[in-house]
Symmetry: C2
DNA sequence: CGCGTCTATCTGAATTCAAGATAGGAATTG
DNA sequence: CAATTCCTATCTTGAATTCAGATAGACGCG
């Protein structure tokens, strides 16, 4: 059994047919047939049921398929390991949920590209669940998502562990003074982590029925809160100067909703390139310096 | 880059020489040379420094080596996955530390061989640290060790989580009545988990300086304790009948030493054969039924 | 310098692999 | 029911690769 055999096997399984597989493999059908038959005879099992309309995996073939995949990625990782001489270089594809991007991404990327100028970094903004899927499918090398994450194939590092505060206009002395009829919940995204937690926190304070106001950037949100249009929820660490300038007022929160953990997740068996490793280091350093609380 | 190339590479790296590698690979040196040179030209890097006394890995080669290993085990796992049709069969090599073996192994193995008669099980008895190394080196498919275990390449399942009690002769009403000059600490193995914890517990009760008595089997230990020769430490679950018969007296323990967790650890990337899976199931069932507390 | 040990290269034979041609089986269709 | 179509299996031939052996060259050692 060889890696090339498994590539052929994988193509046949994926296309459920030797002709189609041959097309993908840039060869002819007879060679595919021969290779599959040799593989079957070597393993002593049939891997496909032959039908008039193509091939279908037998149970043994179905058991083999994920391992064929694993061998392929192991080979890919081997190649990358040889190429990677320790200096961060080449492409780095990561993801982030929107709020982390708005709060920290600029700072993290800025400090990273200074430390690793030869890396071409690309950041995809999606919701946490979409990001997790993309990481699992190896479309991203890692992503910032809201914690906690429990998955056997993923490993996550806590990058940010931040205390949350409710932000209101400067003249709102207490959350109880919020007028449910006028004030709005101002968030980056409907249904986001911050939206859900803000709603839950306000409910705990007996404030219900606030309308939603969805705004695209942090600056606009803070501006609207400062103007008394509503309330928002943010990590304490990022609103220091605003509060000192008296533009907004921060209200501490108690209970299970009072903190947010941001993890950087990646596949456990994914290749840790120098670029990725440098990015993680850089992010951790940034987080240590940027979040005072 | 192919799996066969990596096998050659691995052999050369291991033997630090092409002649020796050729010997292992059942071929001639010229073929090994050709293959390595082709691999190097494909990767665009030299993998070995040529010396007059053999070959030495370059940094790039050193980076490749562990991945070559990974590709090989991925292929092995693939082969095993095809062979394994779901009915537990074939060899199963596991390990256990002594105390778990003495307390539970008979029961677990008995219930397992009934459920999976076609499996040839072999159990190696070693200390926890030796077992961990053997599992990491893939010499064992898994092992019972004392928890907790933290290692990125290992995954552990808690099989037993037992409350510990100190066992004395039936006429010792209180641990304080133990005579440090006469009573001994009776344990399965010097320096074992149970030995250390027993010592720590006795110290907490102000009892120090007990001599050690190391005995090979649980029955003998219980017999000696019953005869008033000393004290031992055991999970509460296994001494029920003995206590009811009045042969020994159990003394509850408080504090951090009062419980013992036994994990079954295995390599995260190891192949989970049907035999191993069945053994884990069987062990969990056994543990659920055998440990009442 | 001769010897032993190592890698590099060359060469012809053996093996394997690629591509095309062909056959056969099973649905589909007119 | 025959023609058609889409599929896999097999055979053949030439190309490519791999193998084993022979030989050359580099280096250290006594």
């Amino acid at each position: 059994m060889d890696a090339r055999d498994l590539k052929v096997f994988e193509a046949v399984a994926r296309h459920a047919g030797m002709n189609r597989a041959a097309l993908e493999l840039n060869t002819v059908q007879s060679n595919v047939t021969t290779r599959i038959r040799l593989l079957e005879s070597e393993l002593g099992t049939t891997l496909f049921e032959r039908h008039t309309k193509g091939m279908k995996l037998t149970p043994a073939g179905a058991r083999l398929l994920p391992h064929a995949f694993e061998v392929r990625t192991a080979l890919e990782n081997a190649r990358r390991a040889v190429m990677d001489d320790g200096t961060p270089r080449g492409p780095l594809n990561i993801g982030s949920r929107k709020s982390t991007a708005a709060l920290h991404l600029t700072g993290m990327v800025a400090s990273f590209i200074e430390a690793a100028p030869q890396v071409d970094i690309s950041v995809r903004i999606e919701t946490s669940s979409v990001l997790l899927d993309m990481v699992l499918e190896r479309k991203l090398e890692g992503a910032f998502v809201a914690g906690p994450v429990e998955h056997p194939d993923l490993v996550g590092d806590v990058i940010f562990d931040e205390e949350l505060v409710v932000l209101t206009g400067p003249d709102v002395a207490d959350l109880a003074h919020i007028d449910p009829a006028r004030a709005k919940m101002i968030v980056l995204g409907k249904g986001s982590f911050y939206h859900q937690h803000l709603e839950s926190i306000l409910t705990q304070h007996g404030i219900k029925g606030l309308r939603l106001l969805e705004l695209g950037t942090l600056e606009v949100i803070v501006g609207c809160v400062s103007a008394g249009l509503g309330v928002t929820l943010l990590p304490k660490g990022v609103i220091g100067p605003l509060q000192r300038e008296g533009k907004v007022r921060a209200h501490n929160v108690a209970g299970p909703d009072c903190r947010v953990q941001t993890l950087f997740v990646r596949r456990r068996d994914g290749f840790m390139s120098s670029a990725l490793s440098a990015f993680l280091d850089s992010s951790r350093r940034y987080a240590a310096s940027a979040t005072i609380n």
